[in-house]
Amino acid sequence: MRKISVSLVVLFVVLLAVSFPACNRAAPGTNKPKVALVLKTLNHPFFVDMRRGAQEAADRLGVQLDVQAAEREIDVEKQMQIVENMIQTGIGALAITPSGSREIISALVKARDAKVPIIVVDTRLDPKAAADAGVHAETFVGSDNYEGGKLAGGYLVKATNGKARVAILEGIPGHETGDSRLRGFREAVSSAPAITIVASQPANWERDQGFNVFQNMLQAHPDIDAVFAASDLMALGAIEAIAAAGKTGKIRVVGFDALDDAKKAIAAGTMEASVAQFPSEMGKIAVESAVKAMHGEKLPPDIVVNLAMVTKDSLSRP
């Protein structure tokens, strides 16, 4: 019996020995300064693009980039663990897209104590909670989601001549990003009295939930003229629900993020428009800022990455 368990343990060791070096991307012996980029998740195209931009900047600047993310976007506890663990590896700077504007602060306190400069990307920290904990971010790199929401709302007012029955697909409630987009959107459409918001429900950033929630909305309000989704994945779900109801082209869909799939849908005419963010630009600036912070350079409190409205017209332009 002992023999078996011993031999199994040996097998275990062999398996580990075989699997680990293959996984270990951090080449030993390099003394390049290390920047950590902690994302919300890597199973979303937005963050995959951000990583690409960050990697390009890191290669250009000659720093080692270590990218980690939780398995699920909402798992802020796992994100905290990642931050704690990465601080132990002697990182020179930490760039992070917080999964929770308040919750992540306990982990950032540890970064501060380890004298690791913090660059916040895409989602802002809760200013009060950060101030209470004495956490100071060197800079915030991101787009103004409120302005993005306003851009989408303004576009819809213009496209519908200020008269429409609008549905909204929200992100996960309580997320700074989604809440800002919705505030901006509501602000913009409130200028047009003939625009009524008939339904507003969370679809938790997900494509399949976008489908289900919008299908239900269509059941309750068959006369919806337009839908604003706080992210493209939910918009793409809504497009499928519209197709299933045989209403393609009759409902204007405006999304957010300008993902590749969304651009294809806009070119095909199943989607009307999307607010473009430039995540790879965010990743690039995040790494550049991290390197500057490591060298003790002072950074502006906000580095705004521009937004743009993607429509069929803008796509056909070179």
């Binding site: 019996m1 002992r2 078996i4 368990s5 199994l8 343990v9 275990f12 060791v13 398996l15 580990l16 020995a17 699997s19 680990f20 996984c23 270990n24 991307r25 951090a26 998740t41 890597l42 270590d66 990218v67 980690q68 993310a69 939780a70 398995e71 699920r72 909402i74 798992d75 802020v76 506890e77 905290m80 663990q81 990642i82 704690e84 663990n85 990465m86 132990q88 590896t89 002697g90 929770g100 308040r102 919750e103 602060i105 306990s106 909670a129 209470d132 996960i172 409630p173 309580g174 969370p202």
Partner: protein
């Protein structure tokens, strides 16, 4: 009896050896692993899963399963958070939070024993109900910002050791005594080994099963206290997939899903293996996608060891 006890020892030795070997490999691969601050991190990061897994071990030894633990963590945390937000005194707020977990566990147990429903179905249902209740109670928004006295459950120290670690050790010590030194503990094994025989020998199987699920609910609520203090926030979406992590820790630790066997020491080592593995993969900069593959492989491997050992016993 002695044969099975020897087997249990051999199995546990294998798990401990696995942890030692894993740590050895990580120590060889990264200088950042074997440092005091990092090991304290691992222990703290493991504590929540380890505590939830205590209840899971009781339930699985009795031949059941509890899928609702993650949702109970969320609901208990939310009740606690709402109480604190409404300025309920700390001891009463804690009692409300722990009471919520206990009540959920009692409901699970009552439905399993008096409703004669399979535990998988009951706890699948309560998993959804408790999650929904947590979302309703908070309108989906996290409750955050608690005072330092409460936060010390996660950030404080007892004799220089971080409080989540102390809590884990105390909980395991108590649970170990309950499981090995009390009649209730013996009935947990007996019910898992042969429920019918246990009933025929005059034991109130229904009562004890209800108590087993109540233990699971209660310890999940304890985990919720630590999680809420750690995040400084009670999140209705907290604790998702905790049930799977707890089942994994229990199974890696040598508890049989068939019931009747298992130890808490094994579960603790199982939880540590998962914690060390996640920590090590982070330190090595392994992508989160590959991490999932490695963790999955370890779970299967651990059960494989179990099965092979059993085959050689007979």
């Amino acid at each position: 009896m002695t044969a099975s006890r020897r087997l249990a020892h051999a199995r546990q030795l294998g798990t401990v050896l696995g942890l030692v070997v894993l740590s050895g490999v990580l120590w060889a691969m990264t200088p950042h692993f074997l440092t005091v601050p990092n090991l304290l991190n691992v222990a703290q990061q493991t504590s929540i899963n380890a505590i939830v897994a205590i209840g899971m071990t009781f339930v699985i030894i009795s031949g059941g399963i509890d899928l609702s633990v993650g949702s109970i963590v969320a609901l208990s945390g939310v009740v606690l958070g709402l109480a604190l937000q409404n300025r309920v005194l700390l001891p009463f707020a804690l009692a409300l939070g722990l009471g919520t977990g206990l009540a959920c566990g009692l409901a699970n147990g009552a439905l399993v024993s008096w409703g004669r429903l399979p535990p998988f179905i009951v706890t699948l249902g309560t998993m959804s109900i408790a999650r929904g209740a947590a979302l309703v109670a908070t309108e989906g928004r996290p409750i955050s910002g608690f005072d330092p006295a409460f936060r010390s459950f996660a950030t404080g120290h007892v004799a220089g050791i971080p409080s989540p670690i102390v809590a884990t050790i105390v909980m395991y010590a108590i649970a170990h005594i309950v499981l090995t030194r009390t009649t209730f503990g013996r009935y947990v094994y007996a019910i898992g080994g042969n429920e019918e025989a246990t009933r025929l020998s005059g034991v109130s199987v229904r009562l004890h099963k209800t108590m087993i699920y109540a233990v699971s609910g209660l310890v999940s609520a304890v985990a919720a206290v630590i999680l809420t203090a750690r995040l400084n926030s009670a999140q209705p979406i907290a604790g998702m997939m905790y049930e799977l992590d707890a089942i994994a820790a229990t199974v890696i630790g040598g508890t049989s899903l068939m019931g009747g066997e298992g130890t808490l020491a094994g579960t603790l080592v199982g939880a540590l293996i998962m914690g060390v593995l996640r920590n090590g993969l982070n330190l090595l900069g392994v992508s989160s996608f590959l991490q999932q593959i490695v963790i999955g492989a370890v779970i299967i491997f651990a059960v494989l060891v179990d099965t092979v050992l059993k085959r050689h016993r007979t």
